[in-house]
């Protein structure tokens, strides 16, 4: 759509970065579109109906995978919905269409930097970073958490797989934190 304006990642680069530090891999993802979807007051039925078969609406502190839309819970009656950026750059308009006036939809794609974390076991890294009891929560767990003063969303996809969404403006600080912690625990 925006072929006349080039895009830069939150780290201010043309392409996403990835880092391998010991067993830990930190991969920046720049290919995900994101929008918040909030159910309007008293419109739960219409909302659920609109979502059905299209947008998963996981329980609090959970995420759910789907195609094209995945989502994770962020607040009472509010979810962040993900989709591939290449095909769903204008995700907010699509979701507005889908939910009509049963929901308030807001584009969030560029509010965040996303890092996917991979290792055989992420626990030693994450226990250095945040208070989530990563080994104990189930796959699909999603929660906001504080990492060195930076408010992030953490999604567990497996014992060795997780996703972090951090505020876009703090992308460099967050990456520095991740790199430092990884170097410290290897």
């Amino acid at each position: 759509m925006a072929d006349t304006l080039h895009a830069l990642t939150p780290l201010g680069r043309p392409d996403p970065v990835s880092r391998d530090i010991g067993p830990y891999r930190i991969v920046e993802r720049f290919d995900v579109a994101l929008a918040s979807v909030a159910c309007r007051r008293g419109r739960h039925k219409d909302f659920a109906k609109a979502a059905k078969g299209m947008v998963p609406l996981p329980d609090p502190a959970h995420s759910a995978q789907g195609a094209p839309y995945s989502s994770f819970w962020v607040a009472p009656d509010m979810w962040f919905v993900e989709a591939p950026f290449a095909t769903h750059e204008d995700i907010a308009s699509e979701l507005k269409q889908l939910f009509g006036d049963s929901a308030s939809v807001t584009e969030q794609t560029d509010g965040w930097v996303r890092f996917d974390l991979q290792a055989h076991d992420l626990a030693p890294l994450l226990e250095r970073l945040c208070n989530v009891d990563f080994p104990q929560v189930a796959d699909g767990f999603a929660s906001r958490t504080l990492i060195e003063h930076i408010g992030c969303y953490l999604i567990r996809r497996g014992p060795g797989e997780g996703t972090l969404y951090g505020p876009r403006s703090s992308a460099k600080s967050l990456l520095h934190v991740l790199e430092t912690a990884a170097a410290s625990v290897i």
């Binding site: 609090p60 502190a61 819970w73 962020v74 607040a75 009472p76 208070n131 929660s143 906001r144 958490t145 504080l146 408010g151």
Partner: protein, 94 residues
């Protein structure tokens, strides 16, 4: 401290911002109540040594405002509710 969030379970109080006495929920009506009512609402506090109902905001979490009943002498938390539910039940409406 740990606050047992009614939706999310135990969460570190560090994720929250504290406001104060839950009586701050009982805002008078600006069209019918005057300065004296607002003064009492905004400024005066029971400030008990013991069970205290108070408002906490889960800023680094799900952004819920909670009504936490906590003993101010022992810090024991006796009850945690969603402020929105409490306010609705109290008939605060729109």
């Amino acid at each position: 401290m740990i606050i047992n969030h009614p939706i999310l379970g135990p969460r570190d109080a560090q994720e929250f911002v504290y406001l104060g006495d839950a009586s701050l929920m009982n805002r008078p009506d600006g069209m019918s109540d005057g300065i004296e009512a607002f003064h009492d609402y905004l400024y005066n506090r029971d400030n008990p040594a013991g069970a205290h109902r108070e408002l906490w905001y889960h800023e680094q979490g799900d952004r819920s405002w909670l009504v936490v009943t906590r003993n101010t002498v022992t810090h024991e938390i006796l009850k945690v509710e969603l402020a929105r539910d409490v306010a609705s039940k109290a008939g605060r409406g729109k």
